[in-house]
């Protein structure tokens, strides 16, 4: 189960993601993030309510980041819970993904 909300705040499109980003839900996550990236110049994924992420979820985030790069959008991943942060750490994504401790807005 994964759920997403969308909100515009001081120029950023904030996508709030709740639930689990696993192999079952990764496609849904990717679609939501891609749609936000297509429609907005600056997108922040708010992962504060994301309980869980697997490599499939990481892949979905990277695909969205790639789409953002391709269309010169800003894309940031924000407010990771400690366990989700660890998965990003294991993935070694620091130098290719903007990971923020807090939302930029």
């Amino acid at each position: 189960m994964i759920q997403a909300t969308q909100e515009i705040r001081s120029g950023w499109c904030v996508v709030g993601v709740t639930g689990r980003a696993d192999g079952e839900c990764a496609d849904a996550l990717e679609a939501v993030l891609r749609a936000a990236v297509e429609a907005n110049a600056k997108v922040a994924a708010d992962f504060s309510a994301l309980d869980y992420i697997s490599s499939a979820g990481i892949r979905a985030v990277l695909q969205a980041a790639r789409a953002a790069e391709g269309s010169r959008r800003e894309f940031a991943v924000c407010s990771l819970s400690p366990p989700v942060k660890k998965v990003f750490d294991m993935s070694g994504l620091h130098h290719i993904l903007r990971i923020h401790g807090e939302l930029p807005c």
């Binding site: 696993d22 697997s54 499939a56 892949r59 695909q63 993935s91």
Partner: protein, 147 residues
């Protein structure tokens, strides 16, 4: 649809469950791991890591191993040992030893990284003493999570 049942002794120091080859089973796997970890006082980090490692192996068996659509394609057994959780992961997929997967290039550019290739890496980061063998129609991977 629920296809997972647990087998446990009094103290739930051991649990076995079976998963169909369907990613919707991930939710049930997580419930079983949670129950085991709750009984063992392993909530929090160990539970997250155990879940992640099993998730990656299961997802691979379904995605790459040909287990998709196969009933009871995966059997998982958890044993609480002294200072570790022993995991046996068995799947009826095509013969495949995950220990042969080379580590990912963590410095590759985004385009490359977005293709995937992190699942086995996570398993190897999290778990210790991984051993693979092919037993008849089963891939069998045993490993330990230090607790």
């Amino acid at each position: 649809m629920l296809r997972v049942r647990l087998c446990h002794n009094r103290h739930l120091s051991q649990l076995s469950f079976t998963l169909n080859g369907d990613l919707a089973e991930l939710a049930h796997m997580m419930t079983e791991v949670e129950r085991f970890c709750a009984a063992q006082g392993l909530m929090g980090d160990p539970q997250f890591q155990l879940t992640l490692a099993i998730d990656e192996l299961f997802t691979n068996a379904v995605r790459h191993g040909g287990c998709k659509g196969v009933a009871a394609a995966v059997e998982i057994r958890l044993d609480a040992a002294d200072g570790a959780v022993r995991v046996e992961f068995r799947d009826r997929g095509t013969p495949f030893d995950p220990l042969t997967v080379p580590p990912p290039d963590l410095k590759a550019p985004l385009e490359e990284r977005a293709k995937g290739g992190l699942g086995v890496h996570f398993v190897r980061q999290i778990m210790q003493n991984l051993q693979y063998d092919r037993c008849g129609e089963w891939n069998r991977l045993t490993m330990e999570l230090p607790t």
